[in-house]
Amino acid sequence: MRVNQRTVDVPEAWTGASLLSFLRDHLGLTGTKFGCGKGLCGACTVHLDGTAVRSCLTPVSAVGDAAVTTIEGLGGERATHPVQRAWHELAVPQCGYCQAGQMMSAAALLTRDGAPSEESITQAMEGNLCRCGTYPRIRKAIHRAAAIERGEAPQGAE
């Protein structure tokens, strides 16, 4: 399996696992979170070839040749992806647990649509729950990330 641009082995005991469990419990890529196990909350969102998927519902056996990207592979240890930079500028996280999934969904949205409308943000993010209620900041941060991708300077001092 190709995960964050490296190739990893899938031992026999893990071939029947969900991609989420394989990433977390076998590879130790714990940035991707378990929230519901049924594709209802979005905390486990990763990219398969750039498309956002729920890794809790994706069997390891279904990944095939697709490139898996997790939050660890999005912008590295310094969190340099425009979405992560926008999330930092706007101090989006509260407990932070759902935010990897939020950022992966947001990054996939921005790949499809560099200047998303309010409505397409609602649509893209509707399946990502945040119990702390950071939705207003997530919305602002997606607009801000789009601006960063367009090369606009940060607003205000950070």
């Binding site: 469990s21 378990f34 049924k38 996280p93 932070g96 119990r131």
Partner: protein, 717 residues
Amino acid sequence: MTAPLSRREFLKAAGWTAGGVTILSGCSLIPVLPSFDGPSAGSELSWVQLWRDGRVRFFCPRAEMGQGIATGLSQVVAEELGLELGDIDCRYPRTDEIQKVAMTVASQSIEEYFEPTARAAATLRTELERRAARRLGVAPSALLLERGRFSAAGARVAFAELLSADEDALLPAAEQGRVPLLSQRAASQRRVVGRDAPLVHAERLLSGREVYSRDVRLPEMAFGAVARPPQIGAALEGFDADAARGGAGVIAVVEGPANAVGVVAETPMAATEGIAALACRWRALTPEEVAEVDRAVDVDALSVSGDLDHTPEDEGSLSVGRERATAEIDVRYDTPLTAHASMEPRSGVARVTEEGCEVWTGSQDPWFVQGHVARALGLDVERVVVHNHRIGGAFGGRLLCQASVEAAWLARGAGRPVKVQWTREEETAWNYAGPGFSHRIQAGVDADGEIAYWHHRMAGGPILISSALIPDHLHWAGDLAPDPGTRRGTDLPYRVANRRVDFADVRAPMPTGAWRGLGAAPNTFAVECALDELISAGDLDPFSFRQRHALDPRLASVLERLRAFAGWDAAQERGATLGMAAAAYKHVTFVAVAAQVSVADGAPRVEKLWCVHDCGTVIAPDRVRAQIEGNLVWGVGMAFREALVLEAGRVATTNFDGYRVARMSDVPPMEIELVSTDAAPSGAGEAAFAPAAAAIVNALARAERRRSRRLPWRASA
């Protein structure tokens, strides 16, 4: 069939009366209780330490669960030591790294830990000043505190150089007299406190490197799971251990305390399959027991049966008030059982050795976890160390520690470190719930527009005397005392001469306990909705009526500000549909919220929310704003979505398809005005959400010309 005894009659029949309480002795009968006491005098000094690498280590005495306390208290440390926020190495301490502190609850972390934290950092600064003065040969008063160093007359000395050769770290001793606190200076003189600051641990959080307890991995660690009954209270009658042992990857089948059985395996999947292979047999509840499980908390029925045992307020005379009343209301409001629905289902990792047991978890009270694990393993408390991690949401629900206890007995049984990670279904069904409430409010206004009387009858469930914390054999004790958590919010922040509150805290078949705001959420909601109905009945103005009756001028002030901030009068003239509500959370934090709503094709929608919020001196303004935003989102969820449903003796709404919380499309634009005053800091974690729900419902009642008095709001279409 015999007629059921009322609870009070039952207690009498059983020989228990308030005057005749028998104190049970014997250690094993006394439950492990949460930690209530704040830091003992002087123990706070160990929270802030200077290490040899020049970094200041701050052992945050509060659990971080999204409220931003790591950032807020780190700001205080930075202020006192002349440092920037990024210079502080903020850590979540183990139970053996600092002395026991109270559980992290009740929005009190800034209120109660601001000053001890400031004192700890200021004491370290004072010791550093003394050493720097000696080193530079000047008086301490001649020193200038710069970022991480002192200077005087052109000479400089860095903090790290002030450690002697044999010191790994500097922990200051208590100072004689008071140390000056830089974080309590006037706002204009402060550099960090009261100003927006970047999030502590932001990079870790955003890159996926923050270690929540579910993310902990140990060498040789295996995965555990425990069999759950199909109904609450169903006893285990048998299981097929051999079938489970034969499964691929299964390491051990372990019997635990209290009639439990679990499986330890090499992968989480193998552990889950092992539980299925056990084919556990459970005693099904009888139909009578199930009926008991589904019994409603019904204020009117309890009122008739004389079971509203507690009367915390009884002032003036209701009958005198009734005679004066020119307009009256008599309304019933109901709010459902609720789940915390934290995004992170709980987990525990345990390693058992000859020395004792180490546990990794995320808890609002790591010392409570320590006590429970010690008891389960029969160890002295000192032999259990709990590593506490950032929590993926708590909301009052991160106290019970079954996953940690299970990991401990599974680890001992399997001879390997074990991680137990609860599923969403386990998290919803086997935690305590926020109690369902029902209210009967009768009230009147007189010809002068004054509240003539106010009678609030209410039935809720135990919260602070939680039925999840008090074992069955001690439940009678909880029944005797009125639960202050259950009644919170019934004590009106408005002046009313003739008033009475009666209530019962009825044990539901599902254990109930703390949920964001405790009783303040359902009670404030009911009070502010009933008040709105009373104001309408008397054809009065919702702002000036509340302002006129406000007991605290700060409540009157947020109301006055909200009217202008929301453009209330202009919006009314435009024909917009608005509602409003207010709250005086614990009589220390004052909030007023306005909501604009619309209804299209029978579908109600919140168009906008405004909130004016006064929690006194603000330490971390952006984190306070974030808390208020979250509260407003919870208000939307409370109004439209949340309800925990019990069916056939079990929780029916165990995942997010059944237990629905607010999502992106529910959330309107919101504007927040933060009133910063010189008053002492007070809580912001749970003040705004009940008035938000009430403001929304008050607006919807206007929009639809009918009122749904049972939450969540049901659309009329």
